[in-house]
């Protein structure tokens, strides 16, 4: 007596599910974006702006990480596959080959701007000026022996002063992202590699023995000097506030939002600001991209408008709303080129 209505309800739900899923796939009237959590705060702002104009529904933006997003994006053409992928690095040749294999032939690449990867400390901390080499020497598991640079020894440095006389005599303590994060990849590329390539013999390895090169440059020490602080950058900000002797690694937008508590360290003498990152003077800036499936333009309503909105002056310009959100705009010339590429729907090739 209790079961009858419930059982029939179950069947009703199952039947409804079957019929609805078929019809929902037939057409999609909103844009589906997947990909990087670094680009997510910017793409969502553009999505919301498009939705507010009232002509199209607000696009859905999933935060899946760059790799996961490109994988979904390259799965195929059709309404069940995403239209746009956010990426905090360029799509690589392997990924593009997968795309081709699955019928995603034509892809439009849009460079939307830069993100500066900063190393920051509490306002109450000692002011340090670092170079990528110092960062490498502070954090790599194995470093070249100062007495005999062609041999590797396990990292002996305890305090910053041990690395360079100009640095304060405090314990090395760096809070940064875990290996699963795209920010960690950028950190390896922008700081660790740049630092370890200042040793010519390691730089030579890059061509000859890439595996060994990566092992030397990308392996961080595990004795507590580098602390994996989780994916959440706000957490690192809080921890820096509590511990003025530690420094933290995160994107420029978090530094900008917390300037009352934090200070960005100068790298090679250059302070992280909008201007220095945009002009490329700040050594640790990375480009951010969105990839658009050309086969979906004109099929999914509003996709072309979405891309146009993204590269418009009020979004990407120097005083645009994306700059307000902490995206570092590209220099004027590059932006003009990006816009020309969008207009011509230029095909991406890795």
């Amino acid at each position: 007596m209790f079961q009858k209505p419930l059982i029939s309800l179950t069947f009703a739900v199952a039947l409804a599910a079957g019929s609805i899923s078929a019809s929902a796939q037939a057409a999609r009237d909103f844009i589906n974006v997947v990909g990087s959590s670094t680009v997510y705060p910017f793409t969502t702002a553009v999505a919301e702006q498009l939705g507010r104009q009232g002509r199209f529904k607000t696009p859905k933006v999933e935060s899946t990480g760059t790799g996961g997003g490109i994988k979904l994006f390259c799965n195929g053409v059709g309404p069940q596959h995403p239209d746009v992928a956010n990426a905090s690095r360029r799509m690589n040749a392997n990924e593009f080959a997968t795309c081709q294999k699955n019928g995603v032939k034509d892809v439009l690449e849009v460079r939307v701007g830069y993100d500066g990867l900063t190393i920051s400390e509490s306002k109450r901390g000692p002011t340090m000026t670092l170079t990528p080499k110092m960062v490498y020497l502070a954090l790599a598991k194995q470093i070249p022996d100062p007495a005999n640079p062609s041999a590797l020894i396990s990292n002996p440095y305890k305090n910053w002063r041990d690395i360079d006389k100009s640095l304060p005599n405090i314990k090395i303590e760096v809070l940064g992202p875990p290996p699963t994060s795209g920010t960690r990849d950028s950190f390896h590329e922008l700081y660790m590699e740049t630092g370890c390539r200042t040793y010519p013999w390691i730089d030579n390895l890059r061509k000859m023995d890439e595996k060994r090169f990566k092992r030397i440059c990308h392996t961080l020490r595990e004795d507590g000097a580098y602390v994996e602080a989780g994916e959440n950058d706000n957490l690192i900000v809080q921890k820096l506030e509590a511990n003025p002797n530690a420094v933290g690694i995160f994107g420029f937008s978090f530094l900008e939002e917390n300037l009352d508590k934090l200070r960005g360290l100068k790298i090679n003498g250059v302070e992280p600001t909008f201007e220095t990152i945009s002009s490329g003077k700040f050594p640790a800036s990375r480009p951010l991209f969105i990839y658009v499936k050309k086969a979906h333009i004109g099929v999914i309503p509003g996709l072309q408008d979405f891309v146009n909105e993204y590269v418009s002056e009020k979004a990407l310009g120097e005083e645009g709303y994306l700059a307000d959100r902490g995206l570092v705009p590209q220099p004027k010339g590059d932006l003009a080129k990006t816009r020309a590429d969008v207009k011509a729907l230029k095909n991406f090739a890795p």
Partner: protein, 436 residues
């Protein structure tokens, strides 16, 4: 023989002495043990108080939001220059211009484009949307003046709530000294105030903290849980009844039982991967839909419900079954008329505990695309939606200061939701439970 007797007599007195001697030690041991237990409970309570304390300290401010009182003139020139009240024209008119004009009226001395830009920055873009809604709902407003409390920008809100200091140096905060001056002026006139934050409960997600709300996530969670309940309760109860009352005891049912117990302990992300492969990959259901979320969470809660339901059926005394069979009832009648009604409260409790777990899950939803920025509040089970724990996760990762309190606020809503569900479970149990 006598020696043993002797020692036994002696040992009686000795034993009493021994007991007396050890008594103090045993009492001490008991007091120590009680103290350990008490310390464990205190530590537990301290952690909970700390957790709730930080969440409420950070999150309670979300229920209030900064509003600015402005006198808005619904200028016919701006809204409806053609004068024919065409609804399509009314929707796309430049309502931001009305807000800006009202701000200029409030501060007539401000001049020059950069200064005006800063002045306009005091208001949220939601203010113009509110005017648009008002006018499209009631076109007669055009040409009239109206005093309204409109939403302020999140930077203003943070200063008003004390999260950003007014004394901080200009380059250390997002507001300029000039803007702080206007803010103080507005506050003195009583035109800037914290009011109840309606939009937190009426809006979906937004990239502007002051406009972001939990409604989309709340509805998404509700829809997902509804699907989960509709599927997992009947299937779970049916499986439990069959296994407990009808199935023969043999190898096969033993294997099934072991598997059900194991499934209850499988990490939830595995169910998400399964859902991605089966429901989205094979059956082609849409991503990010509460329907698929409900299916995945059904897989997750089914073992819990089956185990709880079987325990509830086991608790029904065999005498009830024997009496029913003895009176000539069939097995189905025995189960349907007697055993099931008596076991139902226990089953409901199990179901609600399973639902509470499902409500807190975010890992499996990541795989099926419910970790997403979705502005529109879902209208049905195939609309893209997100869920409360996912909303907490997404907000916690955004740079704007305003999202810190939103995150804690969303946690408070989630906790209230959980509390409500658990209270229902307790109430149902007390109402229907029968003790033997």
């Amino acid at each position: 023989m006598s020696s043993t007797n002797n020692s036994a007599v002696k040992s009686a007195a000795e034993t009493q002495q021994q007991v007396r001697n050890s008594l103090a030690r045993r009492y001490r041991a008991e007091r120590r043990f009680r103290f350990y237990g008490f310390a464990a409970v205190t530590a537990g309570i301290a952690f909970v108080v700390f957790l709730f304390g930080t969440i409420f300290a950070q999150g309670l401010s979300v229920f209030q939001q900064s509003y600015v009182k402005l006198e808005v003139f619904y200028d016919p020139e701006t809204i409806d220059p053609a004068g024919n009240r065409d609804p399509d024209d009314l929707v796309v008119a430049d309502y931001q211009a009305l807000v800006r004009a009202a701000l200029r009226e409030e501060f007539p001395q401000v001049e020059g484009r950069p200064n005006l830009r800063e002045l306009y920055g005091l208001m949220s873009s939601a203010a113009s949307i509110e005017l648009q809604r008002a006018v499209t709902a009631n076109p007669d407003l055009i040409g009239q003046r109206q005093t309204l409390w409109l939403l302020a920008d999140d930077t203003i809100d943070m200063v008003l709530k004390g999260n950003v200091s007014r004394q901080a140096r200009e380059d250390e905060r997002r507001l300029s000294d000039q803007q702080i001056g206007w803010l103080n002026a507005l506050e003195q006139r009583g035109d800037l105030d914290l009011r109840f934050n309606r939009s937190f409960f009426s809006n979906g997600d937004s990239r502007d903290p002051e406009q972001a709300g939990v409604r989309g996530a709340l509805i998404g969670s509700l829809l997902t849980l509804l699907i989960t309940l509709l599927l997992s309760f009947p299937i779970g109860v049916g499986a439990a009844v069959y296994l407990e009352e009808f199935a023969p005891r043999n190898r096969l049912t033993d294997v099934i039982e072991v598997n059900i117990n194991n499934l209850a302990a499988v990490p939830s992300i595995v169910f998400g991967l399964l859902g991605l492969a089966v429901f989205i990959g094979f059956f082609g259901m849409p991503r990010s839909a509460p329907l698929v979320g409900g299916f995945v969470l059904t897989l997750l809660t089914l073992p819990t419900i089956i185990i709880a339901s079987r325990a509830a059926l086991k608790a029904v005394p065999p005498s009830i079954r024997e009496a029913a069979l003895g009176m000539g009832a069939s097995r189905l009648q025995m189960v349907g008329h007697h055993v099931l009604p008596l076991a139902l409260p226990g089953m409901l409790t199990g179901a609600i505990i399973g639902m509470a777990r499902a409500l807190g899950e975010s890992a499996p939803l990541l795989m099926i695309g419910m970790v997403a920025f979705i502005v529109e509040v879902p209208q049905g089970i195939v609309d893209p939606a997100t869920a409360l724990p996912v909303q907490v996760f997404l907000w916690s990762d955004l740079p704007e200061r305003g999202f810190v309190e939103r995150t804690s606020g969303a946690i408070i809503v989630l906790l209230l939701f959980l509390l409500l569900m658990n209270a229902t479970a307790v109430w149902l149990r007390n109402k229907f439970e029968k003790r033997w």
